[in-house]
Amino acid sequence: MKVSILQFPGTNCEHDTEYAFQKLGATTEIVWHKSETLPLDTDLLVVAGGFSYGDYLRSGAIAKFSPVMKAVVEYANRGGKVLGICNGFQVLTEARLLPGALKRNEGLHFISKHHTLKVANNDNSFLKKLNVGDVVNIPIAHHDGNYYIDQAGLKELQLNGQILVTYCDTNGNESNPNGSVASIAGVCNKEKNVFGLMPHPERAMELILGSDDGVKMLQGFLES
């Protein structure tokens, strides 16, 4: 299993992501955004979190024009698996590989804390190790995490089972930290090969750091 991890100027979660996937037994490679190709043996491409291009203009807006993105779009269109975490999710929506957009948090504050999430769909290669309704404890750290999609788009997400996880309290009841439509924390595309979420499973890999629920999430990619 080979995981390639994108690095833009301002990306800051590439090494955590590398650590997380290595811990799960994958080999990893960090790919600088100037590269025009992806490693040929890539099984999963991760767009890691951070502040690509300082979040200038809009989060993820400038990264979508980096040289590597052409290869990313081709890879995704061929059915390659892509996971965007936090800023990576923002990049994937800006690149229109995922529906919707991420707006400024409703309360306008940067939020950095552990939050519980509920699995909304597991019929995909990402969350197949979890059950629908499972609650996981995963850190969030974002300023622009307020997921927006119009009503027609939301209906389509629901119809196709594209909502991956929603924000909830520890009992699994809806609890929305940032104003996201339908408390959505993560979605996938219709073809279910491109995934994005604001929370950071790669930061929840061992109990000593507060939670190891990220293991259950990321493990899905390692078993076909």
């Binding site: 203009l57 800006e94 957009a101 707006k103 400024r104 309360g107 927006y148 999609i149």
Partner: protein
């Protein structure tokens, strides 16, 4: 020629910053404000002198980069 691009959240998309500014105005007793929308302005100095061509070019810039049309509207003014 100069192009002034005004970008704002679409009608119907909740503008949290606008709402916060509205609250602040209220607390300063500026009454009579019905709604506040916060946007951004991008000013471009263009080489193009033909208005129509400039408008076409800046529209393309807005669609591709300057605005995210999923959530934002844009207005272009050429001066």
């Amino acid at each position: 020629m100069k192009a002034i691009v005004n970008i704002s959240l679409k009608a119907g998309v909740l503008d949290s910053q606008g709402k916060a500014v509205h609250h602040a105005l209220d607390s300063l007793h500026f009454e009579g404000v019905n709604d506040v929308r916060v946007g951004k302005q991008i000013v471009l100095q263009l080489q193009e002198s033909d208005k129509e061509k400039a408008m076409q070019e800046v529209t393309k810039m807005c669609e591709e980069l300057l605005a995210n049309t999923v959530i934002e509207d844009y207005e272009i003014e050429l001066v």
